[in-house]
Symmetry: C2
Subunit: 273 residues, 2 copies
């Protein structure tokens, strides 16, 4: 049985085939790479597809540790359903490809309770402040030759004009990157799509002049899914306050087109050297 609704590039590229004992066969699909290595958020979504199939609930909080780059080709995802409760389920997974483990994951899964079932929301923040999408700018990292990377053809990430200084050799001085995210085929973004959005922009270290514009390897990324997005581009913000001891945190906020907070993310990454 193949799991994953056909009809969008993303659903097809994250489809998995259920085996036995929690094993899923899948494929790191060509075209989701940056310079040959699959985008990290895409790999999380691929593994999460198998975890969701195993516990039959969408993610609430998911942590991934990045162990090795993932190149296109067959892969396996082994899911261990640690505890399946009435409301929530917790599972771990490992994603292996080319004979090595690419990623280790641990998450808790469950449906978002309907709004009327709980107390009124308390939100002490505003949606990410962005100009209209047509005034935003493409902002792929200049180190990557566009014709060697497929990821930029699968997703559309456009940047706040104030945050693209790094592209012109003039880092803004603020470890901040904001922009819109959508799939290139405009397919609706579900909970698994949010996992791609949170790792789809240039590292915020690019906008600090102290650090080279070079790959900032993710050690670990945790996403809290806080809502199901309505259709339309997502408003995203990524920032860091502490770039020290060779590492930095990158805090992400993702809001949907109706102004609802739908995901919070934080990753720990290595400062480029």
């Amino acid at each position: 049985m193949v799991i994953g609704i056909m009809g969008s590039e993303f659903d097809e590229a994250t489809s998995v085939r259920r085996g036995t004992g929690g094993r899923y066969d899948a494929r790191i699909t060509p075209g989701w790479d940056i310079a040959g290595n699959a985008n990290g958020g895409y790999l999380i979504a691929l593994a999460a597809r198998a975890m969701v199939a195993e516990v039959e609930r969408p993610p609430l909080t998911l942590t991934a540790h990045y162990l090795a780059p993932g190149q296109p080709g067959p892969c396996t995802i082994d899911v261990d359903a640690i505890r399946v409760g009435r409301r929530m389920a917790t599972a771990s997974a490992k994603l292996e490809a080319q004979g090595r483990q690419v990623m280790a994951l641990l998450g808790t899964f469950g449906d978002q309770p309907p709004a009327e079932a709980v107390a009124p929301p308390v939100v002490n923040a505003e949606p990410v402040d962005l100009p209209p999408i047509e005034e935003c700018l493409p902002g792929g990292p200049p180190v990557v030759e566009p014709d060697t990377s497929g990821f930029g053809d699968r997703i559309r990430s456009v940047y706040h004009p104030d945050d693209v200084g790094f592209q012109m050799g003039s880092p803004t001085g603020k470890a901040l990157v904001r922009g819109y995210f959508e799939f290139a085929d405009h397919h609706r973004i579900d909970e698994l799509g949010l996992l791609v959005a949170v790792d789809a922009f240039a590292p915020v270290s690019f906008n600090r002049p102290e650090f080279p514009i070079s790959w900032a390897p993710t050690v670990e990324l945790t996403v809290h899914i806080r809502g199901v997005p309505v259709p339309g581009p997502l408003r995203c913000s990524f920032s860091s306050r502490f770039l020290q001891h060779g590492m930095f945190e990158e805090d992400g906020e993702v809001w949907d087109a109706d102004g609802n907070l739908v995901a919070l993310s934080r990753q720990l990454a290595l400062i480029p050297r």
Copy 2:
């Protein structure tokens, strides 16, 4: 072999005995509980002690999913060293007691690189603003009878006078709690001690009048260890911006007595009902 330096209550209460195949025997020590259930940060530290022993490095980023309460008594920690590299190691663990799994963990471990080995730090934040420690107030949750809980005798958490409204039946209206943390025996706080600090204060939901002052069960907690604290009480801040769909995130910052950021934490918890 017993691992854990004797001489402090915390080290003793988190000591583990190495078995074979990654198994460690330990004990959920009486006296680290709140109303009979061991404090969550203490349980993380106990499991982390075994993970650190297995990979021989302190934590850099550690995620714990809370599955069941842990009561005092014997427990086992099974550690899987997923990848041990030159600089970093990634491991998962499960903590079991009374025949059930209490906690699932996944972390990456490694030493903090010495400051001189990397670029100068970029810090865009100030240490938590607190009055002198003698002007801060004890702030245990009023729902808990002190004489049924040992945790408050093991650690000392004192609160910013502006943040204790919830204790007097006057929530401040801000989902914010700040204070100092130290061990009751004044023992030096190491990386494992930081794991206790980030889950040792009252839930920030207590200061929002919409929600009852009642247990806010943690689903998942992730800590980034960003430095090794110098001796002295820690300055801690916890806050939340999004209390919605029955859940809230609690963001923690921990600074040492010299004004260095030493830990960032975020947990996803259930809003009390």
